[in-house]
Every structure is written in C-alpha cells, then in structure tokens.
C-alpha cells in the first residue's frame, strides 16, 4: 500500500476513534436509562452459576436459586434462605414475588421460642421492600407490601403506612379489594375525615365498575365498601366526631366523653436468668387489650420511645447486630390484669444481653386498639386517661399510655448479689394482682350485683363507665 494511502487510513482511523467516542457518549446514557439491569451483583454465585450469569441468564439463575430457596422453606431452614433472597433480587431486580416473600420472611419468620419475631430485622425487611418498590415502580405491588408492613407489623407511626398505601393507590393495576386498606390506614393515622372522603370515593368507583363488570366480585367489593362506610359513619357518630365539629348539633354525652382511667400498673420480676414475669393491672373489662412490652438495651441505637427508627435507609443488612437486644411482646389483658412469663434464655443470638443497662417500656396506643375498645377511647385516645402514665408527648396529637422501668444485666442474668435475691422493678402504684383461681384462660364477666370476684376491689381503679357496666362496648 502506498504511503499516501496509509496516511489517509491513519487519519480515517483517528477520525473514527473520535466519532466512536462521541457516539458512545451520546448513546450509552440512553441505554443505561432504558435497558440497563437495575442491579447486578455476581458475588456469591458458584462458578457454574457465574458462567451462566455472565452469559446473560440472570433471570434463569435467579429462578433456579428461588426454587432452591423454596426447598429450604419446606425444611424450615430459614437462615439459608436469606442470602438466596438477596442474591435473587440482586441478579433479577424484577422478581417481585421474591421481594415480597423475602420481605415477609425477614420481617415475620425469624422468631424465638415464644414465637416473637426478631424486631432487629424489621429495618432490613423495610429496606428490601423499598428497594423492590424502587426497582419495580411500574406496579403497585411493592408499595403496597411496604405499606402493609408499616400497618400490620410495625403497627405504629401510621403516617408511613398512609404514604406508602397512597403511592400504591396511584397505580391502575392495584386490585380493588386492596384499595380498601388505605381507609384503615387513614383511620389509624387519625385522619378520619380523609378516611370518610376516601370511602365515598371508593364507593362511587365500585358502583361505576359494577355497571361495566357484572362479575360477582365487583358486586362483593361494592358491598364491602358500603359496609365499611356504614361502620365508619356509625363510629364517627357514636364517638361524637360530627357533634364536635358542629357544637349546635351536640346532642349530649358520646362514647369518648368522660375519659376512662385505665389504672395501669406493672411489675417485672426476674424469676431465673433471662426469664422474667410481667404482671400488672389494666382496668378495662372487655377482652381485647394488648399492651406493648419492650425490653431493650438502654443505649439501643436508633431507639425511639416504644420502638425504634424502623426505616434506617435502603441498605439491606442481612445480619442484625449480634450485640444488641430488643425484645418486643404483647401483654394480653384478661380480667383487668396481665400476667406473662417471658423466657429469653434459649435464644442467645436474639437476646445477647451485652449492654449493662436495660430499659423496659410499656406502651398502649388506642389507634392500634381493638375496634370495640377504640369506640370508648377514640381514635386518638380522647376517651382514655390514666392518672399516672397518660402521655401526650411521645406521639404527637395522641394520648397514649407509656412508662418505663429499668433493670441491669446482672439482675437479668441473676449474677452477683442477684444470684439469691429476686430482682424486680415496678411502677410506684403497683399493688399486686389476684390471679383467677380457675385458670388464666377464664374470663370473668361481671354481674349486675357488683364487681368481679376475680379482681381485688381497690386493685383496679373503677373510674369512668367502662369496667363492669359494658358501657364502653360501643
């Protein structure tokens, strides 16, 4: 080839290199925006899986791994599922089933001997769900799942369940029946007017939908919405919601008037190393009260009153901190008292007790109360009182019951001076409970002739109209 031709070729080569770089710079962002896999992490794959993943079979490998995870579910080998869930979601970030199932698995399935879930995993479950929502923002599903975890599992800070459910509701593919949940979220968040407007909106849509869709499910959904709306209107009326909004229509005493003193008191006794008994009083006769009980490191990171900062970002950390203790349980009230034994001695990884000091929290929020009890207490605790432990600070615009007690590690582990002495911590007003003589499952229904024989008169404050008369039953 002539030198002149070679020179031309070199020049053409240089021009082409510049052109290629320019085109790459312009087109590559378009590719990334439209076609790039959202996440892809190949660490943790075996060599054969790695080869397949390299070759572009990410979704296939994800499917194979998920089948393997399914077998672990059957065997109850829950720990083995966690890394697979993570790997599958990294390989194929569009596996909504894996995100949803993995989130539920992490949030609910890691339990101790007493079937209490390990709350240290909740931030991880939320992080996974939020990642799933971000990677699958074309459908409502993961937004709904995250909202549901706030609503059902965390069961507090309801503004989060509202925001996630509202986001899910913006999608057209959301199943009609699932749209009803937002109504409950609004109510638990104290946004009753919004709940009412939303229910009317749902009913309008359901009726229009029923005209176009003659399927039974369309009629059933419409009837459900109507039933929910009726219940909401009755509750709003009974709880004086309308009357308070228009004083000229106030007809008298409503269920939430004359706040009822629940007479809360509690005592925690360490009966043996890592085994505690929690007893106390709660002067509400109708069955259905569950008081939240938390025992945690006094210096637990991200702790909030009666909980923790559940949303700790989008980092999916599969191993919870091994040196932190956070127990959360429910104290079920029967016969105006509670008496629960909590054994933490068999689950070393869940309750490591490394810290020196521990905080015990008792928390009751009417927003998560059973409906028949909420009828007396109201959505925000306006019908509830307690002369010792009513708290209006830890949850803005809400009246909740909240108090704390303290124990040390030596007390919980029964070491040192506590080897022979029985440690206990109690509220100042605790004066003991009388356990029902015929067994703890027996519910004593008070008669018209006087208070229940199962409860010591004087132990339980009888102020207000709830105990014994059934007045607060709604």
């Amino acid at each position: 080839m002539a030198r002149a031709h070679r020179g031309k070729l070199y020049a053409a080569l240089a021009v082409a290199v510049v052109a290629a770089a320019g085109i790459n710079g312009a087109v590559y962002p378009l590719w990334k925006k439209n076609f790039a896999p959202k996440t892809a992490d190949y660490s943790g794959l075996s060599p054969d899986q790695l080869l397949f993943a390299f070759a572009g079979f990410r979704e296939l490998i994800a499917g194979i791994l998920w089948v393997r995870a399914d077998s672990y579910f059957s065997e109850g080998n829950y720990d083995a599922i966690l890394p697979i869930v993570r790997l599958v979601t990294l390989l194929d970030p569009h596996q909504i089933d894996v995100y949803a199932t993995g989130m539920w698995h992490i949030g609910y399935n890691f339990t101790d001997e007493g079937s209490r879930s390990d709350r240290r995993y909740i931030p991880t479950a939320l992080a996974l769900g939020m990642e799933g929502a971000k990677n699958n923002d074309y459908t409502y599903e993961m937004f709904y799942e995250v909202g549901w975890m706030w609503f059902h599992k965390i069961d507090d800070f309801y503004e989060n369940s509202v925001s996630w459910m509202e986001k899910a509701n913006t999608y057209d593919d959301m199943i009609p029946a699932r749209r009803n949940i937002l109504n409950n979220c609004y109510q638990r968040n104290g946004e009753v007017d919004k709940a009412l407007d939303y229910a009317y909106g749902l009913l309008d849509k359901a009726e229009k939908n029923m005209k176009n869709d003659r399927e039974f499910s369309a009629r059933q959904n419409r009837d459900t919405i109507e039933g929910n709306l009726d219940n909401l209107l009755v509750r709003m009326s009974q709880r004086g919601y309308f009357a308070k909004g228009a004083p000229d229509r106030n007809l008298g005493i409503y269920d939430t008037d004359n706040p009822f003193d629940v007479g809360f008191s509690a005592r925690v006794t360490v009966v043996s190393p890592k085994v505690i008994v929690v007893q106390g009083t709660w002067g509400v006769q109708p069955v259905g009260t569950r008081i939240r009980f938390i025992l945690r490191d006094a210096n637990f990171p991200n702790a909030l009153p009666a909980g923790m900062k559940w949303n700790q970002g989008t980092q999916v950390e599969l191993t919870p901190p091994k040196d932190q203790t956070f127990l959360q349980d429910q104290l079920f009230v029967r016969n105006q008292s509670f008496n629960r034994k909590i054994d933490m001695s068999r689950d070393l990884t869940m309750y490591p007790f490394v810290d020196d000091k521990y905080l015990i929290e008792f928390y009751y929020n009417p927003r998560s109360a059973a409906i028949h009890i909420q009828d007396k207490f109201g959505w925000s605790g306006e019908g509830m009182a307690d002369k010792n432990f009513l708290n209006q600070e830890i949850r803005p615009a809400q009246r909740v019951i909240y108090t704390t007690l303290s124990l040390t590690r030596d007390q919980i582990l029964r070491r040192g001076e506590w080897e022979t002495k029985v440690p206990d911590a109690q509220t100042k007003n605790y004066r003991g409970i009388k356990a029902p003589s015929t067994g703890s499952d027996l519910i004593t229904v008070p008669g018209l002739r006087g208070p229940s024989s199962a409860v010591e008169p004087g132990d339980i404050p009888q102020a207000g109209g709830m105990a014994g008369t059934g007045e607060g039953g709604g």
Partner: protein, 263 residues
C-alpha cells in the same frame, strides 16, 4: 466492489459448510426447543424465565459462532496457502480482509436469523407470544445481538491479522467479557473518588478503549415488564452508528497490520 462481494460470498459458503459451526448452531437450536421445559422454575414468572433462557441461548451461541467463525478466517488461508492464489490476482489486501469479514457477518446473520425464527415459533406454540408488536419487540433483541456479534467478529478479524487462532479465541473472548460483563465494573471504578487517581485513570482508559458490547444488550426490556422506552429510535440509530464506526476502526487497523505482514 465486485471483488469484495465475491470473497464475501465464498466465505459465507465455506462458513455454512463448516461442521463445527453447524454443531454449535444445532446445540443452540435444541436448547431453544427444549427451553419451555424450564417453566417450572417460576410459576408466576415463567415467561420471564423462558425469555431470559432463550435470549441467553441465542446470545451465547451467537458469541461462540462469531468467534469460532472469524478466528480462522485469515490464518486458514495462510496455512492452506490459498491466500497466494487470491492475492496474485488483482485483489488488494484490504479487499480480501473486508470481503472475509462481510462473508463471516453474512453467515452470522443467517445463523442468528435461524435461531430467532426458532425462538418465535417456540414462543408461539407454547402461547407466550402474540402476533404483532410483542413479536417485533422480542425480535429486536436478537437483531441487537447480531449487531453486537458483528462487532465481536470485527475484533476477532483484527486479531486474526497478527495472532494465532487459539490466542485469538481467548483474546476476543476476553475483550467481549471486558466490554460486556465487566464494563459496568470499570465504569464504577473510574467514577469512584475514593480510589487512587491511577486506578481511576486506568479503569477509564479500559472503559473507553474496549468496545462497549453491553450497549447492545436490550433483552432487559423484553424479559421484564417496565417503563416505556424513551428515545427508542435515537438509541437504535446511535447504537447502529457506534457499531458501524467501531467496525470501521477495527477493519482499518486490521488492514494496516495485515498490509505490513509477510504472508
């Protein structure tokens, strides 16, 4: 031009007659036919898994065909001394090289088309495809694989002008991996401010020099439901242009090397 086309035609004919390529193609076709059997891997997302598998088979098979087809193009001619017969006629070396490349690309197109047709037939038979836009959207993916493999073939042709077939096989395969799987890694490294400047610069250099093969991977949108593709025409035009320019770069470089080589 006739010379180039004559060489291309002959090369295509030779490629089709090569048994090793036929065996690779046959394996690919068999895998495509049995792919629906993998549906059990995911009850709800069976279509996703099936599409991932079939498109993966086409991509992998095409890559192997592209490399095997082209690494022997020049060395075989030299080894069998047929190149002397060709170059003794009024045929320029660049015409020989370009003709060989075009012939290989035509053979590649034929094989990718066969696999695409098989995939579409399988999808239609198992009821995972509706005629019309769905079919067109799915067919776009193998089309982009073809463009990607044409670029890979150019890489292998360039290397075949100065290295042996075995070395070329691993070199081309390595470049393909660097430009596809590891491209994101180099991009991340080049943008990581915490790394030493030298490492960042090195990663940026590799990311810039190595052909960006992953830019032709559009299967993600065909496998998973997702948002509407934006500026689709611009993307396709741009990526075709990128492939064309890069193929030109490799062929010019190959011509320059081959022109000085003693055969």
């Amino acid at each position: 031009m006739n010379v180039v086309l004559s060489i291309a035609k002959t090369t295509t004919g030779e490629a089709i007659r090569r048994r090793v390529l036929m065996v690779i193609l046959l394996i690919g076709l068999v895998l495509l036919v049995v792919a629906p059997g993998m549906e059990a891997l995911s009850a709800r997302q069976s279509t996703t898994v099936l599409r991932s598998l079939t498109l993966g088979v086409i991509q992998l098979t095409s890559a192997v065909i592209a490399i095997v087809l082209t690494v022997y193009l020049i060395p075989n001619e030299i080894e069998r001394r047929t190149i002397y017969t060709i170059l003794s006629k009024p045929v320029q070396r660049w015409q020989f090289l370009v003709g060989k490349y075009l012939g290989a690309v035509a053979a590649l197109a034929l094989m990718v088309a066969m696999m695409t047709a098989t995939m579409l037939i399988v999808f239609s038979v198992v009821g995972k495809l509706t005629l019309g836009s769905d079919m067109v959207d799915l067919a776009k993916v193998p089309l982009m694989f073809f463009v990607q493999m044409s670029l890979l073939a150019a890489v292998a042709v360039f290397f075949s002008t100065f290295v042996s077939p075995i070395v070329n096989f691993f070199l081309s395969g390595g470049v393909y991996l660097l430009g596809s799987v590891f491209s994101s890694l180099f991009e991340v490294l080049s943008n990581n401010k915490e790394l030493p400047a030298m490492v960042q610069a090195g990663a940026r250099l590799v990311h810039s020099i190595v052909p960006n093969f992953q830019m032709f991977n559009v299967q993600n949108s065909a496998i998973n439901a997702g948002p509407v593709i934006q500026n689709e025409q611009l993307y396709y035009l741009g990526s075709f242009g990128y492939a064309l320019v890069y193929v030109m770069i490799l062929l010019i470089a190959g011509i320059l090397v081959f022109d000085r080589r003693e055969v």
